[in-house]
């Protein structure tokens, strides 16, 4: 089974019930209530179905209810596996071509309309939505918060790593999963709040109402005065040949399976994109016991925080810059990926190609805001604000502030007398700032007393080491006067408690103390399973991932609050101040094949996944028909699929450029409800709005 039984951070859920189900007639086992997609992945199923065009295999792509690539037939009905909870006895079948509509011909049981109303509808229950809803409710406004997931917190629930930022403002040093729980508890304590979890908003209509697909079984209209759109972001796809093969999916989808569902869907991965998402995905993969052959980025510079990248490199993961994916190939699923360096115009240099045997390619090419409802609401003239990633892609820490600020500005528009604390705006700006300068650090010499050594040298918004230190002897360099400043050790008053080592989100602080002339004791953080005992020898690396020595482990201590081990090593005096990493991935697992092996077919990259339309097809159509309007691509069915152009719309500008057009001069596509498909019976609440009606409807497939 591809299950993660032991994870260094996430506790295995207790009390889950094992159930039997079948996939194409084969009996499988999974956990009741888990996402069907994860149950299938845990059973080793990569190809869920075959597309109507060319019978191309399809598997997980977003694992987020957005893209529909994971559609299967569940008890006779086409369903997205990633939002279908597994139930005992489910008959799951792969979909080949178009699904058949079951002959469910019993008489119609009658419709029921349901109208809810509130002052403010908050779309999305992630960090910004939860913060905004709480702020609005505190001001006495009635709030409905709707979110598509059963568990609130948005992407926080996937974030098993410690947060940057500051402890006081945004839970720095705490893990996203724990932050989500706290925000939700806070919101649930407030009156005037109705939470509709597992209930996506599917449309915002001209008559100032929103349609909510409540619990994916019922349909309610919400009458609102104002709208907060905090619906987060979706992952961008990337154009490379083979980008549609099962096994190519978003880093967020990967985190969903690995961190939320504790499924190990991959053995070896290649990651595309070196932003924070890609870097963190690599770390999460290693924590889940999955090999990472490397991270590629077409740009010449790491996109994410340097401290993140350094951390990954120290685990033994190479980062290939100015490099692109030229082919992902395999029979029915990913079997190998080929990368090559690019020239100054980002064209691949095929003679530099290297092929890796991987079963998975994670796409972490950035995020695009889910701001459709905001744009729609503004076009209709409604009172609306956006917050979090739906407003601007940034860290979750700034999203929490962003949500509160958005709530206050909305309350102001609604006539409430509120003042927005100027310091909040400043904090939000600092928290979402891009990395600042790099400030190199001088050498540190070990003495008889403990000394912290800092390995972060790029300004990022982060300061928990300064607040956690019991003697307050870690300070920020007074350069900018905010938490972008880098920490330094001020006094001589270090007790060696290692609180800073354990809390640092970048794993970039060590403590050193001289033992004798030859040896120094070094305390290092470790966020993996520490299945070794004192006396073991582990490979220590420097900041840049260079091997220093195999050092003897003296002691291991678990810091429960931070779910982090602090390991004490005996290190040679020369290497001690430089030791910061412990290699977890051995070099053999990241080697390419001796010879590259690939076919280069760039026109075959899929742009529209729903309808399987390639780059080549679009370019040809644009040229033949004089297209100046994205809407005309609908003749190729581009954007007409189940996802509603969520994936392809982000890719189209590059394709249009390839066809010789200036994307800025091309008429954009039109947005229309619904944002997600809803069965007709559910839209009218056949048999009543209550649970029983829904349950009856979903029986489906009877003669």
């Amino acid at each position: 089974m591809r299950r993660i039984d032991r994870h260094p951070i996430v506790a295995a859920p207790v009390g889950r019930r094992e159930v039997q189900f079948s996939f194409d007639g084969e009996r499988l086992t999974g956990y009741e209530g888990e996402a069907l997609s994860s149950a299938l992945a845990a059973a080793g199923v990569a190809a869920f179905s075959r597309h109507k065009k060319a019978e191309a295999p399809q598997g997980i792509f977003c694992a987020n209810g957005q893209c529909s690539q994971c559609t299967v037939i569940v008890d006779g009905l086409a369903r997205k596996a990633c939002i279908t909870p597994l139930a005992a006895g489910m008959d799951v079948r792969s979909l080949a071509g178009l699904p058949a509509l079951p002959a469910a011909d019993r008489a119609f049981a009658g419709a029921e309309k349901r109208l809810l109303s509130c002052d403010v509808l908050v779309v999305g229950g992630g960090p910004s939505g939860l913060s905004a809803a709480a702020e609005l409710a505190r001001m006495g406004l009635s709030v409905i918060l709707a979110d598509d997931k059963a568990e609130l917190g948005g992407k926080l629930v996937l974030q098993t790593h410690k947060f940057f930022g500051s402890e006081a403002d945004c839970y720095a040093g705490t893990r996203g999963i724990d932050i989500a729980r706290r925000l939700e508890e806070e919101l649930r304590r407030l009156p005037n709040v109705t939470i509709l979890a597992h209930s996506p908003v599917v449309g915002v209509y001209k008559d100032r109402k929103a349609g909510v697909y409540v619990d994916y079984t019922r349909y309610a209209l919400v009458d609102f005065t104002a709208l907060v759109v905090a619906s987060g972001a979706r992952e961008k796809s990337v154009l490379f040949p083979g980008n549609d093969l099962p096994g190519v999916y978003g880093a967020g989808a990967f985190q969903t399976m690995v961190n939320r569902d504790l499924v190990r869907p991959a053995g070896r991965v290649l990651i595309v994109g070196s932003g924070n998402v890609g870097l963190i995905a690599a770390y999460h993969a290693l924590q889940a016991g999955i090999e990472v052959v490397g991270i590629v980025d077409v740009l010449g510079k790491v996109g994410g925080y340097k401290v993140h990248a350094d951390k990954i490199v120290r685990m033994g993961v190479p980062v290939y810059l100015s490099t692109t994916v030229v082919a992902v190939e395999g029979d029915g699923r990913v079997e190998r990926a080929t990368i090559a360096r690019v020239d100054g115009s980002f064209r691949p240099l095929l003679d530099t190609a290297q092929t890796f045997e991987v079963d998975t390619v994670l796409v972490a090419a950035g995020l695009s805001p889910c701001d459709e409802f905001y744009r729609q609401a503004r076009a209709f003239g409604f009172l609306a604000v956006s917050a979090g990633d739906a407003e601007e892609i940034a860290e979750a820490s700034s999203a929490m502030f962003g949500g509160r600020i958005a709530a206050l500005s909305l309350a102001k528009m609604l006539g409430k007398k509120v003042e927005i604390d100027a310091s909040w705006i400043e904090k939000r700006e600092v928290l979402k700032s891009r990395p600042g300068d790099r400030v190199p650090r001088g050498p540190v010499v070990a003495t008889e007393s403990w000394t912290p050594v800092f390995f972060c040298e790029e300004e990022i918004p982060c300061n928990p080491c300064t607040t956690v230190c019991p003697t307050k002897s870690i300070k920020l360099l007074p350069r900018r006067g905010n938490i972008l400043d880098l920490p330094y050790f001020e006094g001589k008053d270090c007790r060696g408690c290692a609180a800073c080592v354990a809390i640092c989100p970048g794993l970039a602080i060590s403590l050193i103390r001289r033992i004798d002339e030859a040896w120094t004791e070094v305390l290092l953080p470790y966020e993996f399973l520490a299945d070794f005992e004192p006396g073991a020898r582990l490979p220590l690396l420097d900041k840049d991932g260079n091997f220093l020595e195999d050092a003897e482990l003296l002691k291991k201590t678990y810091y429960k609050k931070h779910k982090t081990w602090v390991l004490a090593f005996k290190v040679s005096a020369a290497n001690a101040p430089r030791a910061i990493g412990i290699r977890v991935q051995d070099e053999a697992s990241i080697r390419p094949l001796p010879e590259p092996r690939f076919e280069y077919l760039p026109d075959d990259a899929i742009v529209c996944r729903c309808e399987r339309v390639t780059v080549g097809e679009i370019v040809r159509f644009v040229k033949e028909n004089g297209v100046q309007d994205v809407n005309q691509l609908k003749s190729l069915r581009v954007g007409m699929g189940a996802c509603g152009s969520k994936t392809c719309s982000v890719l189209l500008p590059q394709v249009l450029r390839r066809a010789g057009l200036d994307p800025a001069k091309v008429e954009p596509g039109t947005l229309r409800p619904l944002n997600m498909e809803v069965p007709m019976g559910d839209l009218v609440n056949e048999g009543g709005y209550g649970e029983s009606g829904a349950a009856g409807r979903h029986a489906g497939g009877e003669p």
Partner: protein, 390 residues
């Protein structure tokens, strides 16, 4: 100034085919359109039905041409427009409806249409699972069908481009220059176009355009909403039309496209006048309820997208085709009452034929036999009565 034989205002369901057929007849043609591309007005909002089964000779004739053109688009030009000859089925669940359908049937058969009464068993064969309670039967016309409005417009645009038609997109018409009861030129923000003949094919904006030339047309658009589902394997053939009304709505209709989706539409009650193209919250609960009452099997079918478009209505529900007294070189092909897509191809071919045969304000049909059509659809009729099969 740019000079043409014919300048057509509007690159929609009517204008694009017309431009193609005119160019084929040897005219030098330009199409001026305010939208960024072709078919961006009501063409894209139309759901795609094409039927010859109307209640009057002109529309019957025009739509027979349309069916002939659209159904042969692929074999003739290699352009797929997703045509399917699935037929039209008007269902009757009460005596009154049955009687009126049967009465019409006589006129339709007399016009040579392939249409007949079918009993409940045949209806249930055509639409398996349809609600049979009180079902009396219906009229079925197997030669009618449906096509993709988008691909049909794209096909005509391609044919027109290849035939030498010049398209000017993003050009809103601002003014006409007139001299002695004739239009000399029309102006947009960037261009001025001179021509011997101007054609109003501006769909929902036709009345405003005519007004620029001092012509009053009784055209008032009303809004209709429509939707499309996920695609599924084919399970029904015809376009199903239920012309009953209830307290919230008038008729509604739906069919399964070649690509497998159910496309559906309803007439709201009361009618919503105006040009609002933004979707409302009332459409889905209303239209879906009526569809499920008729056809419960659709309950598990997922709705994918909805939109809203206009029916450019005339007082009697029939189009206006002809020359106004105020400008004898300003041909009107307007007021399609929501049937521009099915009328457009046939009307384009017929009008081009008339023009090539010397048609003009004094004798619109020229040397052709289409006089009856201009007589029926003249702008100067009484506009009394109402289309029976709107």
């Amino acid at each position: 100034m740019r000079s043409y034989d014919i300048v057509i205002a509007g690159a929609g369901s009517v204008g694009v085919p017309l431009s193609y057929y005119c160019a084929k007849k040897g005219f030098k043609v330009a199409v001026v359109e305010k939208e960024a591309s072709w078919g961006r007005g009501q063409n894209r909002a139309a759901i795609g039905g094409i039927r010859a089964t109307h209640s009057d000779p002109a529309k019957i004739r025009v739509c027979r041409e349309s069916i002939d053109i659209v159904s042969r688009m692929k074999e003739e030009h290699g352009l797929d427009v997703e045509w399917r000859s699935g037929g039209y089925l008007f269902v009757a669940y009460d005596e009154e409806r049955e009687a009126s359908f049967r009465k019409l049937l006589k006129i339709q058969k007399d016009s040579g249409l392939d249409i007949d009464w079918v009993g409940p068993d045949r209806v249930a064969e055509l639409v398996p699972g349809i609600n049979r309670e009180a079902l009396r039967g219906g009229t079925f016309s197997p030669g009618d069908g449906y096509a993709s409005t988008l691909m049909t417009a794209t096909a005509f645009h391609k044919l027109a481009m290849d035939a030498g038609v010049d398209f000017f997109f993003g050009e809103e018409i601002g003014a006409f220059t007139q001299e002695g009861g004739r239009i000399v030129s029309l102006r947009t923000r960037h261009e001025e176009f001179g021509a011997a003949l101007f054609v109003n094919a501006a769909g929902a904006d036709a009345a405003e355009l005519a007004e620029l030339a001092g012509i009053e047309l009784p055209i008032h658009p009303d809004c209709h909403e429509a939707g499309v589902t996920e695609p599924v394997e084919r399970f029904m053939e015809p376009m199903v039309v239920d012309i009953r009304s209830d307290s919230e709505s008038g008729n509604y209709y739906f069919y399964q496209a070649v690509t497998g989706q159910i496309v559906f539409c309803i007439t709201p009650k009361p009618q919503v006048w105006g040009k609002d193209k933004d979707s409302t919250s009332t459409f889905l609960p209303l239209c879906v309820r009526r569809m499920l009452e008729l056809y419960p099997r659709l309950r598990n079918l997922k709705v994918r997208r909805i939109w809203r478009g206009m029916y450019p209505m005339t007082p009697d529900g029939f189009p206006i085709v002809g020359y106004p007294r105020e400008s004898d070189n300003f041909l009107q092909a307007v007021g399609m009452c929501g049937q521009g897509f099915m009328l457009g191809p046939g009307l384009g071919r017929i009008l081009a034929e008339c023009l090539a045969a010397g048609g003009s304000a004094t004798k619109p049909e020229g040397s052709t036999e289409y006089g009856f059509l201009f007589e029926e659809l003249t702008p100067y009729r009484s506009f009394e009565g109402m289309e029976l099969l709107k």
